[in-house]
Symmetry: C2
Subunit: 226 residues, 2 copies
């Protein structure tokens, strides 16, 4: 029987590539997404579509109202999504988001008896997000190994972030080698309800550069042929 893994999926380019990598490594994958009050809700449909296309064992969407605590352009419609590069930690940063997502993944991993959690964080492109750094991931893993019944009983938990040192171009090449169809994925912070990307936000700009870097025709569906 193959080993179980919980894979955090957003329906975007990075997490879809991570899912393809986990599957190629022989893991029995359980995908987890969050309905956390994000503006870009078409990503939830992409997460569900990608999970189905890649034949995961189960896909769960946990509802969680992060908008209650505020503090991010991604959950607060009164803060504009920046359409140009910004200095420092961007306003699209959601306070403690990866910690919250990993914590719920930890709980599901315990219920499933899965000892691995995959996530698609990337230190190169998102250097402004503190919870995308390798030292943060290592620290969460150490905490997770003290937090659960499974850990107390000796089943060591592993948090894998295989994209952490890759550029967007390298991620795309890795995914294409594993057969990922990126036209199924949505990265945009303000995608239309049909999943069409704006081509302007941080996430779109990084993605566009990634396809250029990889030398691959960009299959993303943009608004107004942007």
């Amino acid at each position: 029987m193959s080993k179980k893994a919980v894979v955090l999926v957003s329906g975007g380019l990075d997490s879809t590539t991570v899912l393809a990598m986990a599957i190629s490594q022989g893991y029995d994958c359980y995908t987890l997404s969050f309905d956390y009050g994000q503006r870009h809700r078409s990503e939830l449909e992409a997460a569900s579509r990608v999970s189905q296309l890649m034949n995961v064992s189960q896909h769960k969407v946990v509802k969680l109202d992060l908008g209650t605590i505020g503090g991010s352009a991604l959950t607060d419609v009164s803060i504009d999504i920046p359409e140009h590069e910004t200095v420092g930690i961007p306003v699209t940063y959601v306070p403690a988001r990866n910690t919250v997502f990993l914590s719920i993944a930890l709980g599901w991993a315990e219920v499933l008896s899965a000892d691995t959690i995959f996530l698609g964080v990337n230190a190169v492109d998102y250097s402004g997000y503190p919870d995308c750094r390798p030292e943060y991931i290592a620290s969460f893993e150490a905490m997770g190994n003290l937090a659960t019944r499974a850990a107390v009983e000796g089943n060591r938990l592993s948090i894998k972030a295989p994209l952490i040192d890759l550029t967007k171009g390298q991620i795309i090449k890795e995914g294409l080698a594993l057969g990922v169809d990126y036209s199924d994925t949505v990265s945009c912070y303000q995608a239309s309800i049909q999943g069409l990307a704006c081509a302007k936000c941080d996430s779109c700009r990084l993605r566009i550069q990634g396809f250029i870097e990889a030398g691959i025709k960009d299959p993303t569906r943009y608004q107004n042929n942007a």
Copy 2:
């Protein structure tokens, strides 16, 4: 200006005592509760009542559907609440619950620029819950100090669990010395909608023993004069 703290409150005896302690230490308190699909929903009303009576700056309730991942008698009505002492980690354990709650508190602390989070875990009574141990709390604090923008900018986060080594009787004496009225609190895992306790579940049994140990008349409102 006093220092801000986020205080996790469940409306129960322990967290209400912690809130009184945080206030007595001069913190400007922001209380946080979770609507996580728990059966004992009257605790949310108690959390709100206690927050109001103790004049906190703000009380937030974050909705979070932990029932989606399952695995606990507290969120799954198909698992019975045990009415006798059990061996090992009880079925009322909610996978990764404290980790999830602390993670969201971490996010709110960042939004508020609060550098302290208080929670009412207790290693003596709940020795079966892995996420109530001092080494777990220390490890979460270390992780939290790598996770946020505030931490990156040098504001050290502190997680305080002042009840961790106290017995239930000691907690009650501490709270009474600070003027807590325990008739306002609800600890029961299966309290009635009016907040009446069952007197039978783990949480009720520990609380009853606590009042006996403290030598104090138990002000809890029980069902059918239980």
